[in-house]
């Protein structure tokens, strides 16, 4: 009996060790960025590690960033674009995923499976292939450097992600739930919104979060499709590279600020790791 107990604890010990080691790898860069945001330039040139011990923390970088033009705009743009684009994607994408599992479609020779494959494969599209065409399209339509333009640009990728994540989830919802409502004559739309949607909230929230964070962090489209008005947070980070060198302290401040949504998303998403969202693709 004791031997087994010992073995158990031994295993757990190693498990904890590795997990803690892994956590150090995750948190060290974040820690470093955090303390750098409080460092004076001189403390960056001489490498220092612990606040108050190695160096004197200072708020000069935080002050500078709060006074810098464009920071507030960048963040609000990022939030608006990510929220709206993910919201639209969730609505349209979840309906599409639902439709693909409940109805039979036929378009020319393409059936459900082919349509699903096509929609899901859109996430694989290298942005560099479409970005120039987007640019010309957007200028022609007058939506270049606007939030509307960015929201539309991200829809393709976002809808594809939503469909990919929700398709199997919807497939696993037993059809009996809907059948009773159908017999009573409810329209499919009503069935979807009043029955299916509510019970899928965990999965839908999780996929919304994933869309949100991917859009929040996207760089290439934001770089090419905006000039001044509609830039998002990754562009703010890249703009810290000036002709006088990289402004490390401001970069750290902005990086920490842009981490906040990331952390919130991670916490929320963790709750849903057991939602059956991802195991859908396993079965």
């Amino acid at each position: 009996m004791n031997k087994i107990l010992l073995k158990l604890n031994f295993n757990h010990f190693f498990t904890y060790m590795f997990l803690i080691l892994g956590s150090i790898f995750v948190y060290f860069p974040i820690y470093w960025t955090l303390i750098t945001s409080f460092k004076l330039p001189i403390s960056i040139i001489n490498i220092t590690y612990i606040p108050w011990f190695d160096f004197q923390p200072s708020l000069h970088a935080w002050k500078a960033v709060s006074e810098q033009a464009g920071v507030f705009k960048g963040f609000s743009n990022g939030i608006i674009v990510s929220l709206v684009s993910s919201l639209i994607a969730v609505i349209l994408g979840s309906m599409a995923a639902y439709g693909l599992t409940r109805f039979q479609y036929k378009f020319l020779k393409f059936r459900n499976h082919d349509l699903t494959v096509w929609i899901i494969s859109q996430r694989f599209m290298p942005p560099i292939v479409v970005v120039l065409a987007f640019l010309i399209m957007f200028i022609y339509l007058g939506i270049i450097d606007t939030l509307v333009g960015l929201i539309i640009a991200y829809l393709g990728f976002n809808i594809s992600i939503i469909v990919w994540l929700l398709k199997d989830f919807f497939k696993n919802i037993p059809i009996e739930i809907e059948e009773s409502a159908q017999i009573e004559g409810a329209s499919r739309l009503r069935i979807y919104w009043s029955i299916i949607f509510p019970i899928s909230i965990p999965a839908i929230v999780a996929s919304f979060i994933i869309c949100f964070i991917l859009t929040w962090n996207e760089f290439l489209f934001a770089l090419i499709l905006t000039y001044q008005e509609a830039g998002t947070v990754p562009l703010l980070l890249a703009a810290q590279v000036t002709n006088t060198g990289i402004q490390w302290w401001r970069l750290s401040v902005l990086a920490i600020m842009s981490l906040v949504p990331s952390i919130i998303c991670a916490v929320i998403l963790e709750k849903y790791m057991n939602s059956g969202l991802f195991s859908g693709s396993v079965k």
């Binding site: 640019l135 770089l223 090419i224 703009a239 590279v241 000036t242 006088t244 060198g245």
Partner: protein, 485 residues
């Protein structure tokens, strides 16, 4: 003789300056109440300077300046892409002169009106830079910055008796500012090995996608630029690229050899890191733009105030003559300074929303007074581009130069800008593609990925295919015009 002419020139201009006060600032005097002018430039001090220095103009005209600052690495892409697709990106564009080929030649820039030219004393602009404001006989650019590379060295170490003795013992000749690249190499080695104050011998600009083209060409010029041959980059009759001739190859090999006496991470040094290495006292030799002068006076980063010597980039005793396909030896050193980068320019976009106000602001920027101020402000990115700037030592002394240093600095500027064997910035359409191909070759050779010869051969064939793609006939015509053939 020339100095007298310079003096005369500036005296002749001093009189109108005093009578017509407003002409110093170059503006028309019109008001543009409530209008917004968008100025596109690079993020950092240079961009911010454009708003700071124009506070006067904003007050005088009632207009506001809005900055649209883009990181240097993306500036050219964004502006090309935007203008190409007809989008509005700003009223005033602060861009490198080498974009002239693509922008000016294709109707994206508003011409400079004749009355503006008179107002801001067009003839005061140094001919080297005046030429770059023009394209196809018309003037499009407002002067802003005059760029060239020169050499900076630790005067205090070179004049130190002990080091002079040591150097003579080891190398057999007198220690002085290097005149040739061979001497440069010896002195860099000496600095690194025998001088305790210094950590490394020399620091140059070799980073790919970040000035590496200019750092390399600053060396390559004397290896292949013959005083009686105006062309350098291309063969003027066939338009074949010359960049893989034995002169260029030797220059690249010599550049590789100096890496041993340079900071080990120099391949990652941008413009600022390079300046910091020199004025921070780490390296004793620097090949760079003229910003080093004002920046050596800045107590926040410089430990070498008053210790900097200025000179033309080293020359060669042997130059490859491409017309005769052989090396030519000289009795006197063959110098060939390089007007690297060509300078930043102020351009008014053709699709500007407030053209009149933009032209007014542009003429403010290009006026002698503004440029004088800009040239002595470290971080503005502005190097002297006007006669009036370089003949007025008082401005320079005011910023902290000693009188002899100011004279030395301005003499060097003069020498370079009036040099008969100078190489100008290449300004053809597609310039950036040419630049990228050569920078890649330099990077490959310096990192050991290829030999110097094969890397340059690859770059040369790339250059030729770029030329063919854009149109050999038109490129040849434009190149010949730019070198005066």
């Amino acid at each position: 003789m020339f100095k007298f002419g310079l003096l005369l020139f500036s005296v002749l201009f001093l009189i109108p300056y005093n009578i017509f006060g407003d002409t110093i600032r170059g503006t028309s005097g019109e008001k543009f109440e409530g209008e917004k002018i968008v100025v596109v430039s690079i993020s950092g001090d240079q961009g911010e300077f454009l708003k700071k220095v124009a506070k006067e103009w904003e007050n005088q005209t009632g207009a506001t300046i809005e900055l649209n600052l883009i990181p240097f690495g993306e500036l050219q892409d964004k502006v090309s892409v935007a203008l190409s697709a007809g989008a509005y990106v700003g009223d005033i564009l602060n861009l490198p002169a080498y974009m002239g080929g693509d922008l000016m030649g294709n109707g994206f820039i508003e011409e400079v009106p004749e009355d503006v030219k008179a107002r801001i004393h067009w003839n005061d602009i140094l001919s080297l830079y005046k030429q770059q404001t023009e394209w196809g006989g018309k003037t499009y650019g407002y002067p802003w910055d005059g760029d060239f590379h020169s050499m900076y060295y630790r005067k205090d170490i070179i004049e130190n008796k002990k080091y002079q003795n040591d150097f003579k013992k080891i190398y057999g000749y007198n220690l002085s500012a290097p005149k040739t690249w061979d001497e440069y190499y010896d002195i860099a080695k000496f600095f690194q090995e025998n001088v305790s104050e210094l950590k490394y011998g020399s620091v140059e600009l070799i980073m790919r996608k970040n000035q590496g083209f200019h750092g390399y060409i600053s060396r390559a010029t004397c290896y292949s630029k013959m005083p009686d041959n105006p062309s350098f980059f291309f063969n003027p009759d066939t338009m074949d690229a010359e960049i893989n001739n034995p002169g260029f190859v030797k220059a690249l090999e010599d550049l590789k050899s100096i890496l041993a006496y340079s900071p080990p991470d120099m391949t990652n040094y941008g413009w600022m890191e390079n300046v910091q290495a020199f004025v921070g006292g780490i390296a004793g030799l620097d090949i760079q733009w003229a910003d080093v002068g004002p920046m050596s006076l800045n107590p926040e980063m410089s430990v070498v105030k008053g210790k900097v010597g200025f000179g033309m980039t080293p020359g060669c005793m042997k130059t490859w003559d491409a017309r005769k396909s052989r090396w030519q030896t000289f009795d006197q050193v063959n110098y060939s300074p390089y007007a690297a980068f060509g300078g930043w320019q102020i351009l008014v976009a053709k699709n500007a929303k407030n053209a009149k106000a933009a032209i007014d602001l542009a003429s403010f920027y290009g006026s002698p007074d503004t440029l004088k101020k800009a040239s002595v402000t470290g971080g503005s990115g502005v190097n002297p581009a006007r006669f009036s700037t370089i003949s007025d030592t008082s401005v320079w002394i005011d910023t902290g130069f000693s009188e002899s240093d100011a004279k030395g600095y301005l003499n060097m500027v003069e020498d370079v800008l009036m040099h008969p064997n100078a190489v100008f910035q290449l300004r053809l359409p597609g310039y950036i593609q040419y630049q990228d191909a050569l920078e890649l070759a330099v990077s490959k050779a310096l990192s050991g990925q290829s030999s110097a010869k094969s890397a340059l051969d690859e770059a040369a064939s790339k250059w030729n295919s770029i030329t063919n793609k854009i149109g050999k006939k038109s490129q040849k015509r434009l190149y010949r015009a730019s070198v005066g053939l």
